[in-house]
């Protein structure tokens, strides 16, 4: 007996309520953007400079006492949060201390770190600094630029690739889905105020890759079916293609999510934000390849005459044999 998540034969109508789906997506994007503009992102030190110290102590963390001690040093804006994680030992109490960027563009000096440590030692004897990261504002500005550039470049490269392999309508549909995924991911990070650092940019690009993977598989089937069923309307072909690939879409999403969820639960708190972004991205990316990319394609329409040799590029690798 085989485990089947999707029945062997499906004929869901994915476009009957396409206005509703596009509406929901548009609404979520607006909410995400509004949240981004209104409360912004909780940028990590990679992007706004400053210092984070991860402390470890055998006694419970008393945020108030930590704060009281550090405030005497007058380092400006300091935030202290306790970190909880199921992977910690019983007497492992971890806190993250974030200190704003100090003047003069440089990273924080070793002496300041030593002073902080001796000060904290008075309220939490035996405290250890398991990691200290400091980024000067000069670099963080450049990191923002590079990050934005990386995302834009990735999307542009993909746009060109799909345009070459398919048609411009497919490229636009795919890119609309990508923008949708990126905006929703940024939106959720802004809404939940999860720390947004360089690793999240990596996650964003992976989401771009994953979402695209999904979209391309659907589009590949659409291209094939457009040649096969010359009489069917575009909506019918799209619907058929999505139904035919549905089983694969669900299978792949489930295996990827299985892997990611185990990493989320067991992988420790250091990469939890990163993994969260990817889980979110897989869900949103799967949704968008069906409800955004294909819907846009339907809206734009597509040239049906695939008989010309120039348009059969999809077959040029088909002769590859093992």
């Amino acid at each position: 007996m085989r485990l089947k998540l999707v029945p062997a034969e499906t004929s869901f109508d994915f476009f009957g309520k396409w206005k509703l789906w596009l509406g929901i997506s548009a609404l979520m994007m607006v909410v995400g953007l509004a949240s981004f503009l209104y409360q912004g992102l909780n940028f990590g030190i990679d992007f706004r400079g400053g210092t984070t110290i991860r402390t470890e102590s055998t006694q419970a963390v008393d945020v108030g006492a930590y704060r009281g001690a550090i405030d005497t040093l007058e380092l400006g804006d300091v935030s202290i949060t306790e970190v909880f994680d199921p992977t910690f030992e019983e007497d492992q109490h971890v806190a993250m201390i974030r200190i704003q960027a100090q003047a003069d563009g440089e990273a924080i000096s070793g002496e300041v770190i030593e002073t902080i440590k001796t000060t904290l030692d008075t309220v939490a004897p035996g405290i250890k600094f398991v990691s200290v990261e400091s980024v000067g504002p000069k670099v963080s500005g450049e990191l923002v630029q590079t990050a934005v550039l990386a995302v834009v470049l990735a999307i542009a490269a993909v746009l060109i690739y799909i345009w070459l392999r398919f048609e411009w309508q497919f490229a636009l549909g795919a890119v609309a889905a990508l923008v949708h995924d990126v905006v929703l991911t940024i939106g959720v990070f802004s809404e939940l105020q999860i720390k947004f650092d360089l690793a999240i940019i990596a996650a964003l690009l992976t989401i771009v890759g994953y979402s695209l993977n999904d979209t391309v598989v659907v589009f590949d089937r659409v291209r094939e079916n457009l040649r096969k069923y010359k009489k069917k309307t575009l909506a019918e072909v799209l619907n058929l293609s999505i139904n035919e690939t549905l089983s694969r879409t669900v299978m792949t999403s489930v295996t990827t999510l299985l892997a990611l969820i185990s990493l989320y639960v067991l992988g420790g708190d250091v990469i939890r934000g990163f993994v969260f972004a990817m889980i979110w991205g897989v869900i949103v990316g799967t949704y968008s390849s069906v409800f955004v990319a294909s819907t846009i394609l339907l809206y734009l329409g597509v040239k049906r005459d695939w008989s010309k040799p120039t348009n059969t590029t999809g077959n040029q690798f088909a002769n590859i044999d093992a």
């Binding site: 563009g105 200290v132 299978m251 892997a259 420790g268 990469i271 077959n315 088909a318």
Partner: protein, 553 residues
């Protein structure tokens, strides 16, 4: 139908076996690492029975390259430093000034008197009393210029001289500045490398980044501040004539002189000549030592030309004070008692033993041509790294098992084929990472976990296709054949696009992000390989042996 040439089969299995062999050392990480270290020690320091025993922990005919662990997994310090390339301009101008003076002096009849004016550090401003002589002065100064020795600056001269009324300005030309910046950064890189090597930490990464930055990563070091103590000091040592000694930091030193504080006497300032007699560059050796009173000191020795200049100067200036200056602070200012020939001497001061040892290291490795500004520093404790490795291991194993079980439940025997391919896939990723000396970081582990999830995608595409073909009433062999050929374009398109993003991540990212891009990119390559070659060979071999009338996917 359904055939793969023998040589192709052999090749495919050969690739897999090679991958497994290359990945194997990583399963015995500590043992292989110790063996490798011992092998290096034998080459460097000679063979001892203990070292030989450690080397023999790992058979020498096996591959022994390991995946490097990133700083976030191993713990260590990371520093990004910017070289203050502008520092060099001022030094160049100061060095140029005597030359300019000497070439203009004989022409006083046409120029009148001339005097250096206070101005920006990277220029020489000269006031000439007879402005009519300016063109002659320009001509003379320009005669001092030499062609720039760099590819991009070919054809231009190293200095520019311009006149404004009675003021003559000399500065480095644009091309020379570029060439000088490049030299400065390259020298700094070399000096930083030498200093870190002197201290003897293992596997440091010292790279140039961008135009004027240096990235330094040292695994296993306790903190970035420790590292900064070694590489943050410029260690410019000069032996300079003392003009006067006083207690006013803002005293007017006069042109060509400067005021510098004393290192261990607060409130004491020395006025010294800017142009030193001898500099640290002329040192050939420096060793920690003790002076006649038993206090820590540093012994040094000059090269021949340094020794001659030092000897001549001391012979001419017996009885006058003389300053040993380190990074614009006077370490000591003894009075010259006698002519010092031979070119060796001792630096005394209020040193601790540690300080004198450090100073000797710095002097041996040489001075940085310019100061360093630290833009980014990260220290990751080894405990945190170990925690991350442990958590990552458990998460990867659980993810792996979950996917394996799920695939088997969904596709039965074909699922098992896909699972074997998946295991090979992970081995291939580790094998390739070891081969190219790639670095595994925490996001890199996430990349592998993501690959575990996504690697089955290509197989899923094929299996779903085979199901469809079977449903359409084709025979088993034909269905398998069609399944592979029809799924191919989707597999390639989907993976090429993901690969593009991995490449962009690699190009734009740094550190951990780059580690993620590497594992993601390798994961894509290996998963495509295993899906379209390995599972296919397995399925075909199974099919040839069994010749089933019907298959269930």
């Amino acid at each position: 139908m359904l055939q793969i040439d023998l040589w192709k089969r052999v090749l495919i299995w050969l690739v897999c076996v090679t991958g497994l062999l290359l990945a194997l050392p990583n399963a015995f990480y500590t043992r292989v690492e110790q063996a490798n270290d011992a092998a290096i020690e034998i080459v460097a320091k000679g063979e001892t029975p203990e070292r030989l025993e450690i080397v023999n922990q790992w058979p020498s005919w096996m591959p022994s390259s390991l995946v490097n662990l990133g700083l976030d997994l191993r713990g260590g310090a990371h520093l990004l430093a910017e070289v203050k390339v502008g520092d060099v301009y001022a030094a160049r101008m100061d060095a140029m000034w005597p030359e300019v003076r000497d070439v203009l002096r004989p022409e006083r009849s046409t120029l009148g008197t001339f005097r250096r004016q206070p101005g920006p550090d990277d220029q020489i401003l000269l006031k000439i009393s007879k402005p009519e002589g300016m063109s002659r002065a320009l001509e003379l100064v320009r005669g001092l210029a030499t062609p720039v020795t760099s590819l991009t600056g070919a054809g231009s001269m190293d200095i520019e001289a311009s006149a404004d009324g009675d003021i003559l300005t000399i500065q480095l030309s644009g091309a020379e500045r570029l060439a000088s910046d490049d030299r400065t950064v390259r020298q700094s890189l070399e000096i930083v490398r030498r200093r870190i090597d002197e201290v003897g930490t293992r596997e440091p990464t010292i790279q140039r980044q961008g135009v004027d930055r240096i990235l330094i990563q040292v695994p296993g070091i306790g903190s970035a501040s420790e590292l900064k103590k070694i590489i943050g000091t410029t260690a410019q040592l000069t032996f300079s004539p003392v003009v006067s000694r006083g207690s006013d930091a803002d005293a007017n030193p006069g042109v060509g002189n400067k005021v510098v504080p004393s290192l261990d006497e607060p409130g004491v300032y020395f006025t010294i000549e800017s142009a030193p007699v001898v500099t640290g560059e002329d040192l050939v050796d420096a060793q920690p030592a003790f002076d006649q009173n038993g206090r820590p000191a540093v012994n040094f020795r000059f090269n021949t030309s340094g020794a001659r200049r030092f000897g001549d100067y001391t012979a001419e200036n017996i009885g006058s004070p003389f300053a040993i200056v380190l990074d614009d602070e006077v370490v000591s200012a003894p009075v010259i008692q006698s002519h010092i020939p031979g070119g060796s001497g001792i630096i005394t001061g209020n040193f601790t033993i540690e300080e004198s040892t450090n100073l000797a290291v710095l002097l041996r490795a040489g001075a940085l041509p310019a100061g360093l500004e630290f833009l980014e520093e990260r220290t990751i404790g080894p405990e945190l790294g170990q925690d991350s490795i442990d958590a990552g291991k458990i998460a990867t194993i659980v993810a792996f098992v979950a996917v394996l079980v799920f695939m088997m439940l969904s596709y039965g025997l074909f699922g098992v084929f896909a699972n074997v391919a998946l295991i090979l896939n992970i081995a291939l990723i580790f094998g390739m990472l070891s081969l190219i000396g790639g670095t595994l970081t925490l996001p890199g582990i996430a990349g592998i976990v993501l690959t575990v999830g996504m690697a089955v995608d290509a197989n899923v595409l094929v299996f779903e296709r085979i199901r469809e073909e079977l449903k359409a009433g084709r025979g088993p062999a034909r269905s398998i054949e069609e399944g592979y050929s029809k799924a191919l374009s989707a597999i390639l398109d989907a993976n090429v696009t993901t690969f593009i993003t991995a490449v962009i991540l690699f190009a734009m990212g740094s550190g951990p992000v780059r580690g993620f891009a590497i594992t993601l990119g390798l994961g894509i390559m290996t998963s495509v390989f295993t899906a379209i070659f390995v599972t296919r060979v397995m399925i075909i071999m199974w099919f040839e042996r069994r010749r089933p009338k019907t298959i269930e996917v």
